[in-house]
Symmetry: C2
Subunit: 344 residues, 2 copies
Amino acid sequence: MSLQAPLTSLYETATENRVGGHAVNRLAAAQSLLADDLRAIDEAIRCLAGSGPRPATDAALHLNGGGGKRVRPIAVLLSAACFGPISQVARDLAAVAELIHLATLLHDDVLDDADERRGRETSRRVWGNAVSVLSGDLLLTHALGETQRVAPGETLSDLIATLQQLVSGEVVQLRGRRSLDVTEAIYFQIVEDKTASLFSWATRAGARVGGGDSEQIAALGRYGKHLGVAFQLVDDALDYVGEAAAIGKGLHADLMQGKLTLPLTIAVRKRPKAMGDVLLARNGDEAAALRVVGAVAETGACDEVRKRAQHETGEAMAALDTIPAGVARDLLAAVAADLVKRLM
Amino acid sequence: MSLQAPLTSLYETATENRVGGHAVNRLAAAQSLLADDLRAIDEAIRCLAGSGPRPATDAALHLNGGGGKRVRPIAVLLSAACFGPISQVARDLAAVAELIHLATLLHDDVLDDADERRGRETSRRVWGNAVSVLSGDLLLTHALGETQRVAPGETLSDLIATLQQLVSGEVVQLRGRRSLDVTEAIYFQIVEDKTASLFSWATRAGARVGGGDSEQIAALGRYGKHLGVAFQLVDDALDYVGEAAAIGKGLHADLMQGKLTLPLTIAVRKRPKAMGDVLLARNGDEAAALRVVGAVAETGACDEVRKRAQHETGEAMAALDTIPAGVARDLLAAVAADLVKRLM
């Protein structure tokens, strides 16, 4: 169906999608509407991740096989769909967005000494750090090669600038884990650089190849940036309130790795003595970790994070004002609105 | 001075350059003739390596501060100089070639658990593996950003394809270290992919921005490829016959890391029993390592490697046939000819 069709048909489709008796959320509705595109993109991702020498490709395919919500590809597709039918180039760039994401995960797991991701062993646990580093490097070059092939020029140069920003964010985050000197301002800078930058590229790339004008490309870029910040805020809060199975990397992983995310920063601001337990938790003291989790709960830090996330999704939706009305725009708004519901 | 000037003035300049009473070789002559360009390039490399957040920049600047022969930048400059005065774009791309090289070294040292590089501690020893991985990522994105800025289009797409090849070579090398199943054919494939590809990009990029036609660009690309293979052959042989101080990473480092380079492959072919000692050496047995080094010497493996390197430099020089005569072309030939002398 066309994503420029009237909204009614979307809801008809969406309400038909019920999982375990519950109406699925609208991200699932988007996944359902885009099912054919997403299948093609999955195939493209597998093809690119599997292209090159083993065991780097094994490591990439293992990570990719763990699933994932494909939020970044969906962001590319819906942004393109705001302006017309989804083209092959948009699908190719959707695959690129996921490849970049997978590349950063492969390097992240090495930086974090992480053992679990998406509910299964990390690639670095199976193949070792060296293979994971090279596998990430390989995916990165494939993503660049694919962008060069289908959208050289502005979309490629935008991607390169995005990668610079993304890596800078990773470095500042790593530095903060060592010094434990992360203010809220630094936290938001890290989130914008390391997470929101790729979302923002995804929506700009989609809008650009979909045929948006420069104002609309910038507007969707703002949407992507705010969506990305909200996404990371929710993800960071889930480390404290979620169920380990739901996030697939073990609860409190951030805390044990010394990542000063917003829930922790707020809790420590409200109860400075908790910092002692944060330090102990970073060194593997599980009792201290539980006390920190208690402090996060008692200070209402996660409520504050949810409010910030709501503010960001509000900004994301506001950025859609200049985008032509239609199912694609409505779905973008719905994806943003539903994001925060994961915290309720 | 112009590099299209007659050759006589080159030799006048070169013979003026004496270090410790010995006439310097012609790589040094090239360094001397290109001194102003290389100074500007050094400054550009420092600027790019230092751009971004610490400690990633510290790690990059530390590695860069260890020196290095700047062979890849020289390859860019001389290739450009074959066709006219050296432009700013050629200088910028010369810096890019070195940045890519530095990025691979940062990741290599993580893969190798290397402690020493260019006679000083590796960055990963000082700042840890995580910083080194991100520092390499950052340099890579800077190199891409700089190429995008000064030479988008063919030189950028050529770089992206080169990076894919380079990383593939690293993966195959890593796989070989685990399986110890490296034939000579696989060895040459690794060398072409991981080392020669960047040399070949450097000479093509120089020729392209210098104004060579497509045949000349391809010819200089072949020169660069053969030069790169010869360069790696010499480097690998020096691990067995060189002085540790001269190569700055400790003698027999390749052997202790289980890298089956050509000297070893030849020695094992001629004396299959040596494989037992190779396995022991990989596990840290120094007595076994010394026996392997003995086997390499007795089988004349390094002589054979030198002959192969001479063959490669011969091919490199032959590739210069269609390049306009002048000092730049003569220096390219001289750089190739002098390379093998390191093994004499």
